[in-house]
């Protein structure tokens, strides 16, 4: 067995660094990636070659052929320790950039300080040539061309929302894929082709082109695997080291069998899964994984164990190797987008625990082995989403707490008692709701279903409040960008403030959805995904690519909201200071805020002294509840192109820090550009003064059923999770579950360590912290974001 410690030293993290906050630089000189990371042009080169040849054909076929061309020709390699293979680029330190999406930003990047180390001069020249082809053809060109008038105006990031196409998630139907293998799937498509040849449906051409493209990609995936089989066999022949030779022969056997055929062993199942994940990622650079690892792969392990083919240690090693595979993936983000994804590699999470369709607990030996893999590897990804329900075994929770105790920030815990009813409210049938999974952050997924193209963007609710206090007009520029809500001088109560705020929410959600819906049309037309369509349920049956129809639920269209706590605290402060205590009229308070509290520190202090959400104080919490419930209700009135509602989502990533820069001072006492509360349920840092139980009580007043899947992060000192205190902590989690709070995760590291790490980054290269929904290497974060994390309240009372 290879040691975790050895493996940990072998990979290079592809995590991106936050180099911008909004349009402002943030420690940019650090570079976008670690210095070893290089941009690999293979995918761009091969895609371009293929696209040059397929001009004039249907887009779905062109993209299928391009993907096949990449899989058939890209350089492959097997590293000395590997038992699981497959790589996104021809170089272990490589990262690819999706040229088909956007060429301008990568061109800008490799010529900038933050990214010039990514390519050498010759490659930079080649990239110029490749970009020349994509001019006018990449998705971002098409968007730019299409987004004119109001769409153009509201597409641009200005601080209220950051629209982004990065998070296109969804979880393939691994259960069926593994059971049947890809050959069976190809056969099914061929039968469908025969069938439409007989029935000639009205959309015959569309169906035919789509089904043909599916066959192309599925065959290419099988061929891709075969290429590894051949390479491994060749390498095995000349390999002297018997251990290594054995590994290579095993790879050859595995890759020759799967994914064409259903896996026979745990290792084969794992390799199958990884090829699917990898190819998906090569088809369309995306985030997330979400596989229910123990539920899907546990039975393969148990069968191997029973039949004497595997030991527990070996399974642990295979998982550790899988962890390395996950970490090898990464994405190139535009510097602006690093404001929200700072520290992320590709935001991959796996799901453990939960129930099957019938509500029976699914945890098995692999659940524990996966937790152990996480504990021994201590890597930023994959994050683990652990589903908790009333029958989750105590031992699983206890093992999970031991992993949390290490400070890596996961598993993050998801509460079935809150989430399943929420999914049912979103019209997900009960049996499917019970199968939910989490693909990254707190993204809700229904595995195997056509749930795709979903994260709409980051929506700064606090800025909506700011617009409401300015009648939708920017006081600096005079531009009327928001809705023309009533003059704040006429507001009689905090409810009037809330109403004006909600009007702004409605206005900007509508704008955001117009951009999104238009963009989705563009993607459906120019960026079909034949491979993804082939691995979810329903596309082959319908003969329709995944963007041409939709799983019937509002689970899809989530808008990640940030700053809700700041909105609540601000409205509470206005209630207290302006209307109850009458210390200052509202217009005067707004003036003072516009000067960023300058000269009126006293008033800022009085606003800070007003009750704050997170202290189990109804004065503040009831307003918070109103803000949450009614914001969601307003967002739901806005629809996507299939008629389903838009909704909120708690996956804040680091946007609460990154995007906050573009929201001026708010009445909660926050300064211009100051960070927001960490997550949708979290109190503003430093404002929760009554400890963690009071925070949970405050959170419980916000009804998940009337809102969405929230994120809540708390910070505990490590000693609360060990020894005598561990049972107390476990009981705390039980109460969390009973309070039906949908999510919780923990940052377990003491302040002293963080400050040390800030001063001596070399010594703490491996230190991982929870940012928001994901874990990051502390050293990859900018000084500002580090300070923010240090400042977060430590729950360390008594």
């Amino acid at each position: 067995m290879q040691l975790a410690e050895n493996l940990r030293n072998k990979f290079v993290s592809k995590a991106v660094r936050n180099v911008q906050r909004g349009y402002m630089d943030d420690d940019k000189s650090r570079g976008l990636f670690r210095p070893e990371v290089k941009l690999d042009l293979q995918r761009s080169r091969l895609m371009t070659e293929s696209f040059r040849e397929t001009d004039g054909q249907a887009m779905v076929l062109r993209r299928a052929k391009a993907l096949a061309h990449v899989l058939d020709n890209m350089g492959i390699f097997i590293r000395e320790w590997e038992r699981l293979v497959g790589y996104q680029t021809a170089d272990p330190n490589g990262i690819y950039h999706p040229i088909d999406m956007n060429w301008k930003s990568v061109l800008r990047l490799v010529k900038s300080d933050a990214g010039k180390a990514l390519l050498n001069d010759a490659e930079r020249k080649e990239l110029d040539g490749i970009c020349a082809y994509w001019k006018g053809k990449s998705m971002s060109d098409r968007q730019q061309e299409m987004f004119t008038g109001d769409l153009g105006k509201y597409w641009q990031y200005e601080g209220t929302y950051l629209w982004t196409h990065w998070s296109e998630l969804g979880i393939p139907d691994y259960e069926t894929l593994l059971r049947e293998g890809l050959n069976a799937r190809i056969k099914k498509v061929e039968e469908r082709l025969e069938e439409i040849d007989r029935t000639i449906p009205l959309d015959y051409i569309e169906q035919k082109e789509f089904l043909q493209s599916v066959i192309i990609v599925l065959k290419a995936v099988i061929n891709f695997s075969n290429r590894y089989a051949i390479l491994a066999e060749e390498m095995a022949r000349s390999e002297k080291d018997p251990e290594r030779k054995k590994r290579l022969e095993e790879i050859a056997r595995t890759c020759a069998w799967i994914p064409a055929n259903p896996p026979r062993t745990f290792l084969e199942a794992m390799q199958f899964f990884y090829f699917i994940h990898l190819v998906r990622y090569l088809e369309y650079s995306t985030l997330g994984i979400g596989i229910r690892l123990d539920y899907i792969l546990g039975p393969y392990y148990e069968k191997d164990l029973k039949e004497g083919r595997i030991s527990r240690d070996e399974a642990l090693e295979i998982l550790q190797l899988l962890w390395v595979k996950f970490l090898e993936l990464g994405l190139v983000y535009s510097p602006l987008v690093t404001s929200v994804y700072g520290g992320v590699a590709s935001l991959q999470a796996i799901t453990l625990g939960g129930t099957d369709k019938l509500g029976r607990d699914v945890t098995n030996d692999l659940t524990y082995i996966a937790l152990e893999a996480a504990k021994t590897m201590r890597t930023i990804e994959p994050s683990i989403a652990l589903r908790i329900h009333k029958d989750t075994p105590d031992d699983v929770l206890s093992a999970a707490v031991d992993v949390i105790r290490t400070g890596i920030g996961y598993p993050s815990l998801f509460n079935d008692d809150a989430i399943i009813p929420l999914l049912i409210k979103w019209n997900v049938p009960l049996e499917e709701a019970k199968g939910y999974a989490v693909s990254g952050c707190v993204y809700m997924e229904i595995p195997g279903k056509n749930v795709t193209r979903r994260a709409v963007g980051y929506f700064v609710l606090a800025k909506c409040l700011w617009w409401a206090l300015h009648q939708g007009m920017n006081p600096k520029t005079g531009e009327q960008r928001g809705a023309r809500t009533p003059n704040p001088a006429t507001f009689k109560s905090w409810e009037d403030v809330l109403d004006a705020y909600l009007e702004q929410v409605r206005f900007f959600t509508t704008k955001l959805s117009q951009v999104e819906n238009t963009c989705r049309d563009l993607y459906a037309k120019y960026c079909p995904k034949p491979f993804y369509s082939a691995i979810v349920e329903g596309c082959i049956e319908r003969g329709k690519e995944c963007k041409q129809w939709i799983y019937p639920s509002m689970v899809h269209d989530f808008i990640m909201v940030i700053g809700s706590t700041n909105v609540a605290d601000s409205i509470t402060a206005i209630k207290k200071v302006v209307f109850d205590d009458k210390r200052v009229p509202l217009p005067e308070l707004i003036d003072i805020m516009n000067k960023n509290w300058e000269g009126r520190d006293d008033l800022r202090q009085i606003c800070l002294n007003a009750p704050k959400y997170g202290n189990d104080d109804d004065y503040a919490d009831i307003i918070a509840r109103e803000v949450h419930h009614r914001t969601e209700a307003v967002m739901e009135t806005v629809k996507d192109r299939f008629g389903y509602s838009m909704r909120g989502d708690g996956s804040a990533v680091s946007a609460t820090y990154g995007l906050a820069i573009d929201t001026p001072a708010t009445p909660d006492g926050r300064f211009d550009g100051g960070p927001f509360a960490d997550s949708t349920l979290a109190p503003q840092p430093g404002m929760d003064k009554k400890g963690p139980t009071a925070v949970l009580n405050s959170c419980a007043k916000i009804d998940t059923l009337q809102t969405y899947n929230h994120l809540l992060k708390q910070k505990f000192m490590p000693q609360y999770l060990e020894g005598d205190m561990k049972p107390v902590f476990l009981s705390y989690l039980k109460t969390w579950r009973e309070k039906k709070i949908p999510h919780i995760q923990f940052n377990v590291v003491d302040k002293k360590t963080l400050i040390e790490a800030q001063n001596y980054p070399e010594k703490y290269r491996d230190l991982i912290v929870r940012v928001a929904g994901f874990s990051a290497y502390f050293a990859d974060l900018s000084k500002g974001l580090q300070d923010h994390i240090i400042a977060r309240t430590e729950q360390q009372l008594s």
Binding site: D601, N697, V728, Y732, K739
Partner: protein, 308 residues
């Protein structure tokens, strides 16, 4: 939370209600700290709990130098200087607390509030779910809670009625009748003991230990005791001292003995209240020494923890 009322027997004087308290008894608890103490321990780490009245407590770091307090002080006890900022002349201050009302920056604060039984219960009940799952409950601590025995008895009687687990954390320095009245509603007693020698005890706490030891013996017959002892270098940390404590603990069949190593936490708070911190140059006991004392106690067959 700043409630100010003239002294009133129906009200209790409380200086803090601490939620998620996990060192003052089993599970997750809410600890209600009653203000006022008949003893004056030199090392007291909560000197703000000593006076049986509200007093001014100052956090210099919070002061923004706005000057609002200077003009309202009827005693002229507050001064501003360029070099030292806002300063209190504690000799002049008569604790009228007017200044705390005008300081918005939380630099001048009132320590202690008069509360109704209902106020305390409202706060305590908020964490019921956490008590239930953790085996926790409410702890009444001080100061010396028995100084307000009537109020305390009413609070914990009400808690018992709601089936909340109750702990009394006491110095044991109170008339037995009062103690007995409270014990009726108490599930577990955290008994603080400083020294077995009466003379030494009086020197360090201003009172003798006869009453305390007598109460401890009586309490042991009615309730389980968890003994807690501050370990002060050179005062009560010799092996003989600890040996005796261990033997006493064993004879009283205590649940465990907690050794609380001395720390200087009380010093800053004294400064914040214009009090003189009476201890000087007392060392914090070393981890090794604490470990040795722990082993000594365990040698007598009594469970021992360090810290809590």
């Amino acid at each position: 939370m700043r409630k100010r009322k003239s002294k009133n027997t129906k009200k209790g004087l409380v200086f803090n209600v601490q939620r998620f308290s996990i060192h003052d008894g089993p599970g997750i608890r809410t600890t209600v700290f009653m203000k006022g103490c008949p003893m004056k321990c030199l090392w007291c780490s909560n000197p703000e709990s000593q006076d049986f009245f509200q007093n001014l407590i100052v956090r210099n770091l919070n002061c923004k130098g706005c000057g609002a307090c200077v003009s309202v002080c009827p005693q002229g006890a507050i001064k501003m200087s360029d070099r030292k900022g806002r300063q209190i002349d504690w000799g002049k201050c008569n604790q009228c607390l007017i200044c705390a009302d005008v300081c918005i920056y939380n630099s001048l604060n009132v320590c202690g509030m008069y509360v109704d039984i209902k106020d305390v219960l409202d706060e305590v009940m908020r964490d019921m779910d956490f008590y239930k799952n953790s085996g926790g409950g409410v702890t009444i601590s001080g100061g010396e809670a028995l100084l307000q025995a009537e109020f305390v008895a009413a609070v914990i009687a009400a808690c018992k009625k709601m089936e909340i687990h109750t702990v009394l954390d006491t110095t044991g320095y109170a008339p037995w009748a009062k103690m007995k009245a409270v014990l009726k509603f108490v599930d577990l007693v955290l008994f603080d003991l400083k020294h077995l020698d009466c003379v030494q005890h009086r020197k360090a706490t201003s009172v003798g230990n006869e009453l305390i030891l007598e109460n401890m013996n009586r309490t042991a017959k009615e309730r389980r005791i968890w003994l807690r002892m501050p370990v002060i270098s050179g005062f009560n940390d010799s092996e003989q001292d600890i040996q005796k404590i261990a033997i006493l603990g064993k004879s009283l069949n205590v649940i465990k003995i907690s050794l609380l190593p001395y720390h200087e936490g009380g010093k800053t708070k004294c400064e914040q209240m214009g009090k003189v911190y009476p201890l000087r140059r007392v060392k914090v006991p070393t981890d090794e020494h604490m470990q040795r004392l722990k082993e000594l106690i365990e040698g007598e067959g009594v469970i021992c923890t360090i810290g809590s």
